[in-house]
């Protein structure tokens, strides 16, 4: 996998690649995004699109635990492409700024990116340029906010804290 990763990274002109716990990630720039996927599909037989999604790297989080060490504030966009013979899978990765995140769509390379990009758009506020129908896929029209951003709180938690955080009611005969 390491050798394949190096070969692929060189072919697409990637800025680097990592193999971590069996997951091959190839880092590319925003401009290389579509070209890298095209090279993968045409020259490396990575014809299968697994998914497109993003990670919100943030130091201030509204829910969950913040990272232990400070991270660079950004969206990391991932596209997993693979073959259907050897079981190879490449995670293309690129960084997007949080303000006005925008990148070219993969739908021309993989038609299946359509729904995945719609999901990433409504959950993270990422614009996919050239997407045929970048409307909401899960959320109702007019929904405000971007739920998978780390700054988006869980309303239910704010109205009523998670019961696990507070003491449960006492046992019978427990009261003073």
């Amino acid at each position: 996998m390491e050798a394949f990763g190096a070969e692929f990274a060189q072919a697409v002109g990637a800025s680097g690649h990592t193999v971590e716990h069996g997951t091959l990630k190839v880092r590319v720039s925003n401009q290389q995004w579509v070209a890298a996927a095209t090279v993968g599909r045409d020259d490396f037989d990575l014809v299968y699109l697994s998914y497109v999604s993003a990670i919100d790297w943030a130091n201030d989080v509204a829910v969950g635990d913040a990272p232990e060490e400070p991270v660079e504030e950004r969206f990391e966009l991932l596209a997993a492409i693979g073959d259907v013979t050897e079981g190879r899978l490449v995670h293309l990765s690129t960084d997007l700024p949080k303000d006005g995140a925008s990148i070219a769509t993969l739908t021309d390379v993989y038609p299946g990116a359509n729904w995945h990009e719609r999901e990433a758009a409504e959950m993270f506020n990422i614009a996919f340029e050239g997407h045929p129908n970048l409307t909401k896929i899960y959320l109702p029209d007019g929904f405000e906010g971007f739920p998978l951003q780390k700054s988006f709180g869980l309303l239910a938690r704010e109205v009523k804290p998670w019961p696990g955080d507070v003491d449960v009611e006492g046992l019978p005969g427990d009261h003073e």
Partner: protein, 395 residues
């Protein structure tokens, strides 16, 4: 009128094909028996021919990716059961394996074998549900009774081990849960699976095999079924992969690809099994591939029972699970296709980010392509043959 007379008569008739009719928008669902949940289709129809379909999702969206960020790892295990509820157990495996990879622990071999047995049982449960529901959508009610009768045996076996029929929540990081009620005094290896489990499973596998033979003649030999499924909803392999379609649907299109052979999430390399494929990629092939997969699953379960080693059920892990910083994507061959989790841990008690790649989501995204030009009555045949679950689509 004989056929010959009719054909002769037909020659005299001239039909104006210039007749223009207005396209009609037909709303199907969100509550419709064929949608396996709540899915709405907005279809444009020209007479009886579908010209365009826009699936409307989100009725089952429960925000699992967000909720996972505020839950601990054991709590997330309970959540992921509910993604594809027809094969709840299989959903746990890639998530647990991803967390184990980051922690650097490996489940003991006996636990791995139990995982294989239960995963294949989940596949049987899913495929048997399909064996019942697909003919039902074409108007045949009898196979439903047969398939669900046998599925119940599988669910009973799953329940006898895990305590749950649909949502087992049986995996623990580092292994599987030891049998409920087996306290400190009962730590012998023979106490981990219920008494008689292997005998009953082997008997159930014989029933499942007999059921396959029965289905093959009862359904596969039915002329109406053949006419309604053969050549309907043909999906070429190159289109399928570009949409991320996986699992039995992809194999029905002739692609011999099975993650059980290429990934190492469970010790499938120790078992002999074949990958059934189809030739035409039509609804019939999708039915037939799943039928063959049932036989292969039964084959794997028999081998696993024969070769199951004794030993502990769980590796040593801390009482409070904290997963070290790191990222991993683990995918598995679930009954409906590739199911994967991209797990990002920042060292806490719960995931920092959990991307859930579900099979039905990508499998369903083929709908607008595959339904274009299909006759409206064939809509049910095509949708039924795709075998999706809305919980798996919406997550």
């Amino acid at each position: 009128m004989t056929d010959q007379d009719f054909m002769h008569h037909l020659g005299d008739v001239s039909v104006s094909i210039e007749l223009e009719t207005e396209d009609m928008t037909l709303n199907i669902g969100p509550q419709h028996p064929s949608t396996h949940g709540v899915l709405r289709l907005v279809a444009k129809v020209d007479g009886e021919i579908i010209t365009d379909v826009e699936p409307v999702l989100g009725y089952m969206h429960r925000g699992y990716e967000k909720i996972s960020e505020v839950r601990t790892y054991p709590q997330v295990t309970a959540l992921v059961n509910r993604i594809d509820w027809v094969s709840g157990y299989a959903n746990e495996i890639p998530f647990i394996v991803a967390a184990e990879k980051l922690m650097g622990v490996e489940a003991p071999e006996r636990a791995q074998y139990i995982r294989v047995i239960l995963t294949e049982m989940a596949r049987l449960a899913s495929h048997l549900a399909f064996m019942g529901s697909f003919p039902l959508e074409l108007g045949a009610t009898t196979p439903l009774m047969y398939a669900f009768r046998d599925r119940e045996r599988i669910l009973d076996l799953i329940e006898s081990v895990t305590g749950g029929r649909f949502h087992p929540n049986f995996n623990r990081i580092g292994g599987v849960k030891s049998n409920a009620g087996a306290g400190k005094t009962q730590k012998k290896a023979s106490q981990d699976l219920p008494a008689g489990f292997f005998t009953e499973t082997l008997a159930a596998m014989d029933v499942v095999d007999a059921s396959c033979d029965e289905m093959e003649t009862l359904v596969g030999g039915n002329e109406i079924f053949l006419i309604r499924s053969k050549g309907v909803g043909v999906l070429p392999a190159d289109i399928a992969v570009s949409y991320g379609v996986s699992g039995p649907i992809l194999r029905a299109s002739g692609v011999e690809f099975d993650l059980r052979k290429t990934e190492d999430y469970l010790p499938y390399d120790q078992f002999d099994f074949d990958i059934p494929t189809g030739e035409n990629g039509d609804s019939y092939d999708r039915w037939y591939v799943r039928l063959q997969e049932i036989r292969q699953s039964a084959r794997i379960i028999r081998q696993a029972i024969e070769g199951i080693p004794s030993g502990p059920l769980r590796a040593k892990v801390p009482l409070i699970i904290k997963v070290p910083k790191g990222e991993a994507y683990v995918r598995a061959e679930n009954p409906k296709g590739e199911m994967g989790y991209y797990l990002v841990s920042e060292g806490g008690q719960g995931p920092y980010r959990l991307k859930i790649r579900s099979s039905s989501f990508s499998n369903l995204s083929i709908l607008p392509w595959i339904l274009e030009g299909v006759l409206l009555p064939d809509l049910l045949a095509v949708m039924g043959s795709l075998d999706f679950v809305l919980g798996d689509v919406d997550r």
